[in-house]
């Protein structure tokens, strides 16, 4: 009983203390933010940072409703999201913290090495359904997509499918880790993941954006020299008014120590 009373008092007392700095949004940026927060907190033990995922849309919606301080996003803020913020009297500041290349992954036993943008688009729109149509064996293609919330889903749709919609009833995985897992278990699978998630259990495809003239494999170097086409910036958005609170952390992320973490995780540094 005593402990309960103690806890309750602790609860009520602590209501008065300041709430933590909150980072919310894209699952792609999540591991990066988490690592950055981990090391940042080692140096500033008095600071407090919460990192949550949920998708880029979640983060920006939270920025709008004031339930987060920084929205991490793997896509640029949408026109109407910016308008909504403006209507709420908020101005979003945008910082690019890193770049990410999207790798298209297949089962390691699959013989196909590369695909063109058009072929990829047709696969995810459900127009190409068998690997033999793109030079592979006679095997049904099983495309895996992310949930509709994720910036990865939107970016892939924009960049590869030129804003066309995904096929009806595509398999959608709640998180990138689940895509890797499913692709590594499924013979005919194809999916897309951030470069940082790539491991040996899946095979990354070479991609051509010029109709098959040249294929480039996804790697940090190729993304940096811009020969790999599916690259996107990763953003932090915060409200201009709260700049003073979030600035130290954002500066840390952009510092050389912060950017070292960026490349350790497998993203591409800003500079």
């Amino acid at each position: 009983m005593k402990t309960i009373i103690l806890f309750v008092t602790a609860f009520t007392l602590s209501v008065l203390t300041l709430s933590a700095q909150r980072i919310k949004g894209s699952d792609t940026v999540l591991p990066l933010s988490q690592q950055e927060a981990e090391t940042y907190l080692k140096q500033n033990p008095t600071a407090s940072i919460t990192v949550t995922g949920g998708g880029s849309g979640v983060g920006i919606a939270a920025l709008l409703s004031g339930t987060t301080d920084i929205a991490q996003s793997s896509r640029k803020i949408k026109f109407d999201e910016r308008e909504k913020l403006k209507a709420a009297g908020k101005a979003a500041k945008e910082i690019i913290i890193a770049y990410d290349a999207l790798a298209v992954v297949i089962h390691p036993d699959n013989k196909v090495d590369g695909l063109t943008r058009e072929q990829l688009a047709d696969i995810f729109m459900g127009k190409i359904t068998n690997w033999k149509e793109v030079g592979g064996t006679d095997l049904r293609i099983v495309p895996y997509s992310r949930e509709t919330s994720s910036g990865t889903y939107e970016f892939f749709k924009e960049s590869v499918m030129k804003n066309k919609n995904y096929m009806n009833g595509i398999m959608s995985m709640p998180a990138t880790g689940a895509i890797i897992q499913s692709v590594s278990q499924t013979k005919g699978s194809i999916g897309y993941v951030g470069l940082a998630y790539l491991n040996t259990s899946v095979k990354a495809l070479k991609i051509s954006y010029d109709g098959g003239k040249s294929y480039t494999e996804p790697s940090v170097a190729n993304a940096k020299n811009e020969s790999y086409p599916i690259v996107r910036p990763l953003y932090y958005y915060y409200e201009a008014k709260s700049e003073a609170t979030v600035k130290p952390f954002v500066d840390y992320v952009l510092s050389s120590a912060g950017q070292l973490i960026v490349s350790e995780i497998g993203f591409i540094t800003v500079r």
Binding site: I4, F7, V8, F11, T12, S14, V15, L16, T17, S19, A20, R22, D27, L30, P31, Q34, Q35, A37, E38, L41, S48, I49, T50, V51, T52, G53, S65, T67, M173, P174, A175, T176, G177, A178, I180, Q181, A196, Y197, N199, S201, I265, G266
Partner: protein
């Protein structure tokens, strides 16, 4: 003769299916224990996740679950016990009692994700608590309310009516009877119900998805308006996301084992308690 043979065949089938199912259920337990046991260590239980969830422990998730359990019990226990006392000791109007009973019965059938929706709409948005321990506790508290009510009602009804009439005959008021006679006798059974509710709360994921759960908190929550990590959500997260699933898997097994351990221990405790009370009741 034919019926004898039939019986033998049927019984053989039932016995083997029965053993199969039991085996299956224990296979699941065994699988988690087998893979998770090696991960559990003092360090695993008492440190925060490190290196992008591939190392370290589950301390903040344990603490978060603790907070949620306490918070939801603060909500559900008084409310549940009081309304059970009302329906079984006070209410004279049968219709109201029946209404409450129907409501609680149906409440217990509502899927937990619907509670999540409701919690998000009412506590997170309408009342403006945001994603917080407060919102999560209220949601979970409502979720287990029917359980608390039902077990309390059963406990109260198990108290012999003679105790009440005796007390009233001695001139005690209704409340005196309830507080001095009925509740003390029913107390152990009520606590059993409370423990069951704790077990339920510590394992729920869906209601906390949108009301409190955080992916990563380097520090423990300091106020009821903070988000918290929680064991079940932590397991979901490390089972499906993370940059390096291979490296995270052992941690996932460990988390699953801890989660099962916590929930089973709690339920076991309730079971033992119930059995001891049962024995006592028989003796008296």
């Amino acid at each position: 003769m034919r019926t004898k043979l039939q019986q033998q065949i049927a019984f053989f089938i039932f016995r083997s299916l029965g053993l199969l199912v039991i085996g299956l259920l224990f296979w699941i337990l065994g699988f988690i224990v087998y893979h998770g046991a090696g991960v559990i260590s003092w360090e695993f239980l008492t440190t925060a996740p490190r290196d992008g969830m591939t190392a370290g422990g589950i301390w903040p998730a344990l603490v978060g679950t603790c907070y949620l359990v306490i918070g939801s019990m603060v909500v559900a226990f008084p409310l549940g016990v009081m309304s059970a006392v009302y329906t079984s000791e006070y209410a004279r109007n049968g219709r109201i009692v029946r209404l409450i009973r129907i409501m609680t019965n149906n409440l217990s059938g509502i899927p937990s994700i619907v509670f999540g929706l409701f919690g998000m709409s009412l506590f997170v948005r309408t009342l403006g608590f945001g994603d917080s321990i407060l919102a999560g506790s209220l949601t979970l508290g409502l979720l287990v309310l029917p359980l608390v009510i039902r077990t309390t009602e059963e406990a109260l009804q198990a108290v012999p009516a003679t105790y009440r009439t005796g007390s009233r005959a001695l001139g005690a008021s209704r409340w005196q009877t309830v507080s001095r006679v009925v509740l003390p006798v029913a107390f152990p059974n009520i606590i059993t119900g409370l423990i069951l509710a704790v077990g339920r709360v510590s394992g729920e994921t869906a209601p906390i998805l949108f009301t409190v759960a955080a992916y990563f908190l380097p520090q423990l929550p300091t106020s009821i308006f903070d988000q918290a990590m929680a064991l079940p959500y932590h397991l979901y997260v490390i089972a499906t996301s993370g940059t390096d699933l291979e490296a995270t898997r052992p941690i996932a097994y460990g988390t699953a084992l801890v989660l099962i351990g916590v929930v089973l221990c709690i339920n076991l405790l309730a079971n033992l308690l119930r059995r001891r009370i049962g024995k006592h009741a028989h003796k008296s």
